[in-house]
């Protein structure tokens, strides 16, 4: 059993299989919405290929024991709603007249969810409507007993993917900007400072000189001004949705200026040392040069005389004069 991206027709097109739109009713708290997700069996685990399935291949994939084809679909839930989840199993060899399937939530089988599915044009469709509230968010899976393959729907509030696992570093007296971004727009953003296990809401109006919060739809920026050491710690940005809040945390470290100054001073000392050494070496090697160049000069002079007699004497004298200096 494989999942195919929505919008892809599979096999004999049925009304349900072709409609792959996600409808969500945002207006009311207990509004009824029907979410139809169609899953067809594809050739590969890659979900974007069209399902002109090769039976042999899919059977092979579903066959290995303990290694069912596991498809994971992530769904972002913003408001409480009813969702219908549908799994469509195709291309089973032997084509038994019926199969049994059940649903699990977070790994545990949901009571009374087991159904017998009759074969319908070589397809087995298992569907169920769930009412999703804040406490109902989790991983829902449809499982066919005869087959190891399963599809898992991850129902959760939008999660901030680009988390920064390294702490943000700044200096005393400086300012720092902390950013949180999401794909979906929340109702509002809130910032908290974590003190051990407690969260303390950051109120800009109470501390206008210390904090500035910018709310910009999909992203929010917290600017902390005039940093002190005490302001190090964890900051939590919380995106409030109707159903639940999505949180992400950033750690802030405030250093004093002496921290980077230490390597800097070390490098400057090394530079001064090297420059002194090089100058000393150059001065020391000068006397060595004077003794060796004398020999060079004399050997040069003998060759010079053969080349240019007229200048030879002159140059000899100039060279000798220089040696005396």
């Amino acid at each position: 059993m494989a999942a195919v991206r929505r919008g892809c027709p599979c096999g004999p097109a049925s009304p349900q299989s072709s409609s792959t739109t996600l409808q969500a009713d945002m207006a009311k708290y207990m509004a009824k919405t029907v979410l139809l997700l169609l899953f067809c069996q594809g050739i590969h685990a890659d979900t974007t290929t069209s399902p002109e399935s090769d039976p042999v291949v899919t059977t092979r994939k579903a066959a290995p024991k303990g290694q069912g084809q596991v498809i994971i679909e992530e769904l972002a839930i913003l408001t409480p709603q009813y969702i219908e989840l549908l799994c469509n199993l195709t291309d089973i060899p032997n084509n038994p007249p019926y199969m049994t399937g059940y649903w699990t939530k977070d790994g545990k089988e949901i009571e009374n969810s087991e159904e017998t599915i009759n074969r319908n044009n070589a397809q087995y469709i298992l569907k169920k409507t769930f009412s999703i509230q804040a406490r109902d968010l989790g991983n829902y899976s449809c499982v066919f007993r005869e087959n190891d393959a399963r599809v898992t729907f991850v129902l959760q509030v939008p999660v901030m993917k680009d988390k920064r696992d390294k702490p943000v570093v700044s200096y005393i007296g400086d300012s720092v900007v902390l950013v949180c971004k999401l794909k979906h727009m929340p109702n509002t953003w809130n910032w908290y400072k974590a003190n051990n296990t407690e969260k303390e809401l950051i109120n800009v109006t109470a501390d206008p000189l210390k904090y500035k919060i910018l709310l910009n739809g999909n992203e929010t920026k917290l600017t902390v001004l005039n940093l002190t050491e005490a302001q190090s710690g964890k900051y939590i940005c919380s995106a409030e949705f109707d159903i639940k809040a999505s949180e992400s945390q950033v750690e802030l470290k405030v250093l004093s200026y002496t921290e980077p100054l230490k390597p800097f001073v070390a490098i400057v000392a090394e530079v001064l040392l090297l420059v002194t050494l090089i100058c000393l070496w150059e001065k020391c090697s000068k006397p060595k040069h004077s003794s060796s160049t004398a020999d060079d000069v004399y050997s040069e002079q003998t060759s010079k005389l053969t080349h240019d007699e007229s200048n030879g004497v002159e140059n000899n004298t100039t060279r000798q004069r220089k040696l005396e200096h």
Partner: protein, 477 residues
């Protein structure tokens, strides 16, 4: 001091202290080119802190590059007037001060001034004199020495990029800039290494001089000799005085300058647009970054191996041709990019392009010194890098505009490829013309000029590269 000059004053050492000069130039290249490239790692931090967008921060990198190149003639001027050593030490100090000051930045404009202008100026003062010094100290193995020295930018970027990233994580961008300022202070150490040397020809000595580079040598005179050497003794300069900028009027140099302008227009585009193009055709982020790493590493390999290759006796006469070949091949690679649409095909492109890019970079100072001669090398290099400045700055935005208007990267890469190929063709056509002219003259001349090689022991035939300035020296044995 006179004795020391005498020892070095015979011939270019081609070794000995020369290798320390190469090491110094290597570190200079690391501290200037590699640090400039690593500045872009700070952009994300600047954007977050100053709440500006990418284009605002990208100006910093452009400013540093621009200032470094535009002020290159100033660097060679100071190197001529004072000494290379003082120029590099001064430059190192300025660059370091710029970086340290920028760690206290309160606004993006402040960063433009400290990081962009001050540090850029410091780099400019270091870059040209250090490269010129390598050319002074080496003759036989000049290309290899330059290859090793120039590989500093590749190796430096390779090592510095993760180090800078680590510094930013631990100390945030302020601390990282401060420590980088300390690191750049090592330029002063490199400056201390650049021991001045007076070469034989400056003392107007009658011994067979090295005219492989083909510059003019004053015939030894009775009066000229002692006074010139005394003047050199007194000032301890490494080059001729600055008034001799007349190499600028040399036709060969003008052609070379034109080809450099075209080269600089084309060479920076693939570096900027390879990753966006790769992402556009569907290559993953990791693979695209890997392409750039391949480019960087092969660049280093190209620097050193091509330098070593063109030092071989058989290839030395044809160094110009090798340079044209490297640039032409690079242009050809660029023209093929639009056909390469998968990662598997882009890897050989990266390898080839990186290799030839490293190759021509190592040869730029060599080709320049072949044309203008050792005396004017410093000033000429200043002018060469100055010519690089404006095309470097202007071509990436033009490439970006082409991408935006045409919707594909084809036009940009074609622009780059054609610029590189025309740069190579310009030199090639002039070389052909010279060859034909020389053949005509050869038939009319009775005596063929014999040029002496670097060691003064063997006599080699070299096609005169610079007919305007070459003095025909009677063969000595």
């Amino acid at each position: 001091m006179a004795q020391e000059k005498k020892k070095g004053g015979v011939l270019p050492p081609d070794g000995g202290w020369g290798w320390m000069i190469v090491a110094g130039c290597f570190v200079v290249t690391v501290c200037t080119r590699a640090v400039t490239r690593c500045i872009s790692i700070f952009f994300v931090e600047f954007q977050m802190h100053f709440a500006k967008d990418y284009s605002g921060t990208a100006w910093i990198h452009s400013l540093v590059d621009c200032t470094t190149m535009l002020c290159a003639p100033l660097g060679s001027l100071i190197g001529n007037q004072l000494s290379c050593r003082i120029a590099v030490i001064l430059g190192g100090f300025l660059a370091s001060v710029g970086l340290v000051l920028s760690s206290f930045a309160t606004s993006l404009e402040y960063l433009y001034a400290t990081l962009g202008l001050l540090t850029g100026l410091g780099f400019a003062l270091c870059y040209t004199p250090a490269i010129a010094m390598v050319g002074i100290y080496f003759c036989e193995r000049k290309a290899l020495a330059y290859g090793i020295a120039m590989s500093g930018s590749g190796i430096g970027t390779f090592i510095l990029a993760p180090v800078v990233q680590l510094l930013i994580e631990h100390y945030s961008w302020r601390g990282a800039l401060l420590i980088l300022g300390g690191f750049v202070l090592n330029l002063c150490v490199c400056g201390a290494l650049l021991r001045p040397i007076i070469l034989k020809e400056e003392e107007a000595c009658p011994l067979p001089v090295d005219s492989e580079c083909g510059y003019s040598v004053k015939p030894p005179t009775l009066n000229g000799g002692p006074t010139r050497s005394a003047a050199s003794d007194a000032k301890q300069r490494c080059f001729q005085s600055m008034q001799e900028y007349h190499f600028l009027l040399m036709p060969d140099f003008l052609v070379l300058a034109g080809s450099f302008l075209l080269l600089a227009s084309g060479c920076s585009l693939p570096f900027v647009y390879l990753v966006p193009y790769a992402l556009d055709v569907g290559v993953g982020h990791q693979h695209a970054a890997f392409l750039m790493s391949i480019l960087g590493v092969i660049d280093i390999v190209g620097n050193i191996t091509f330098g070593w290759l063109t030092d071989r006796r058989c290839l030395k006469k044809y160094r110009n041709i090798c340079y044209m070949f490297a640039v032409g091949m690079e242009g050809l690679c660029c023209l093929f990019i639009p056909l390469l649409r998968t990662f598997v095909w882009l890897v050989p492109f990266s390898v080839l392009y990186g290799y030839f890019d490293g190759a021509y970079v190592a040869l730029i100072p060599v080709v320049t010194s072949d044309v203008v001669g050792r005396q004017y090398l410093s000033s000429a290099l200043g002018v060469v890098y100055f010519l690089h400045a404006v095309p470097y700055l202007v071509s990436p935005p033009i490439g970006g505009w082409l991408v935006d208007t045409t919707g594909t990267y084809t036009a940009t890469f074609f622009l780059s490829g054609f610029a590189l190929i025309s740069s190579s063709l310009l030199l090639f056509s002039v070389a052909i013309i010279r060859y034909c002219q020389r053949n005509q003259k050869k038939n009319s001349l009775s005596k063929i000029p014999k040029l002496v090689s670097c060691e003064g022991k063997q006599v080699d035939y070299y096609p005169p590269k610079n007919k305007d300035l070459m003095l025909i020296i009677p063969a000595t044995s």
